[in-house]
Amino acid sequence: METSLWRALLYLVGIMAFAGVNAAWLGWCERKGAARIQRRIGPCEAGFAGLLQPLADGLKLLSKQLLVPQGVDGIIFRVAPVLAMIPAITSMAVIPFSENIGARAMELSVLLLFALASIGMIAILLGGWASGNKYAIISAARAVSQNLAYEIPMLITVITVVMISGSMNLRDIALDQQGGFWHWNIFRLENGHFLTMWISFIIFFICSVAETNRAPFDMAEAESELVAGFMTEYGSMGFGLFMMGEYLNIVVGACLTATLFLGGWDCPFGLTPGVWWFLLKIYILIFTFIWIRWTYPRTQIYRLLNLSWKILIPFSLANLLVTAALIKVF
């Protein structure tokens, strides 16, 4: 993969465009999806069927007064939203969109992804801490304990996938699953992996919902308890960046789930694989994120942590052992 300057520039613009469009229009999808679930019409006045609504929100947020309240740690207050956006966009560089569309196919791309995910967590902590608002501090403390608790089972399930496909490179993992859905990791039939793969898929999906702080695990930005969580003091584009960061995290979570378990850019019926299959899988997963958010109430913080420490981690560890045993036996 010779690294010519043109290719790097092309991918830079491509990923920024993909991230920007996704961050904005996911907001539109969420509001339309929520409206559909709640039997009402979503935004339909701005442009055709409300398609210009994210544009209107973006313009409004850009042109609002940037307000840094008193008694606030100035530098961290400004850095936190940016820090929430950086990991989400950089982790898109490693995601293999298709056979030959993929910015960088690094050897340890899975490791890079999870390193960046923890930066997102730190951003929430900094945002909550810097804004000096009691609600924000409670929400930051909750966010850290939640993300920490849900990163461990996520990592363990990824290890099971890496063990099966034998490489940490996302592109190899996806290549390994080509040729029809029976080759995908979920339905991998040879040497009995399909059972353990299902369990790790479920655990992985629960963790990705919890990782992006979305209901029923939205402890950090608990709308009705902590006013607006760690975003309470953030006004215009600070709040905008946090929201875009959250939506991009959903996109990255969906891409990861698709690549690891649903066979990346592979076509389910063995026809010609391509990037549109990949995008289709992502948007189906994103719709389930939205669907879950608008149907379930919020759990309590101690049940959320119990779920992870007492149920998800033991299960994923057992899953890891079983997979290792199966590989050893067959």
Binding site: Q38, T295, R298, I301
Partner: protein, 372 residues
Amino acid sequence: MTVPVHLRHDETFVLNLGPQHPATHGVLRVKLTMDGEYVVKAEPVLGYIHRMHEKLAEGGTFAQFMPNTARMDYLHALAFNHGWALVVEKAAGIEVPERAEYIRVITVELNRIASHLLWWAAFLLDLGGFTPLLYAFDDREKIIDLLERITGSRLTYCYMRFSGVYNDIDDEFVAGTRDFIKRLRGRMPRLYHDLVTHNIILIKRIKDIGFVSAEQCRRYGATGPVARGSGIDYDIRKNEPYSVYPEFDFDIPVFPEGDSMARYMVRMHEMEQSMRIIEQALDKLPGGPVMGKAPKVLKPEAGYYYSAVETARGSLGHRLVCNGDKNPYKLKLRSPTFSNLSLFGEVAEGMLLADALAFMGSLDLVIPEIDR
């Protein structure tokens, strides 16, 4: 069972669940002394929407106070109208025709269902679920349409007069009510119970949270669904029958557990009982006038009068003192939520912030009724 916690009390901080907070549904401020996320001491601060209703009562005549009653508890405004009409009719000795009594019961029970629907929506909004609000409002709009046809307003009704009701109900209203009851009965098991009540997250969220004992209810004077959720069988429509309630047979849902889940189930069953009352009232609706004879300017005898009415939140009492001239000498409104909230301080100690808010939601507060 709140989480056992050893409250160290050494680094507590004061958190203001301020007048503007999404979970207080109005302008109630609770001064929370917190230790981490556990509530050490909770002290509600009232008065942010005190609107001088009692001073206005002393200023105007008896009839001029009727619109004010609806502005106190706008979710169950008709019960407040009914309470005020009852106490003045008792004081001045005015007869109410049979049909008017039936119409009063039908409209009050419809309004009670609307109030419980809005409580259910707001309670789930507190717990983080947004969608139930839209489904409950869908049903509530149907009731508001029915009541708007005969009373003329959507929320703050001024429908009752001192010798009956202002407007007669027609067949379209009767047919509309029957359709509404059939529709809500169809939706209740599938939408309200399967989708929400049996949802494991909701059950974990409100089961064994905010335990209120029967003795606490008696000492703090909590009535209505809060008392019935703690095993006290007290409903004014049964214990101190007024109007034509004795002629209907309905039962009072009482749950002994005393936690938020019990209060939740009491209100859900009460909706069912209200529908039963409405159906029986519609079947036995007599003919005749809806307005009896009442003197233009009421001058009730001097004396002390008290009437209690069962609203969606508890027993609403009117302590009326008259000294013989045309406006009330003194009116004290015993608001149910005022007493229901007074036990919040004692029960919310040691709970998590999220559980304390779930408990406050299960108390079904309407702040202008507390502050009057």
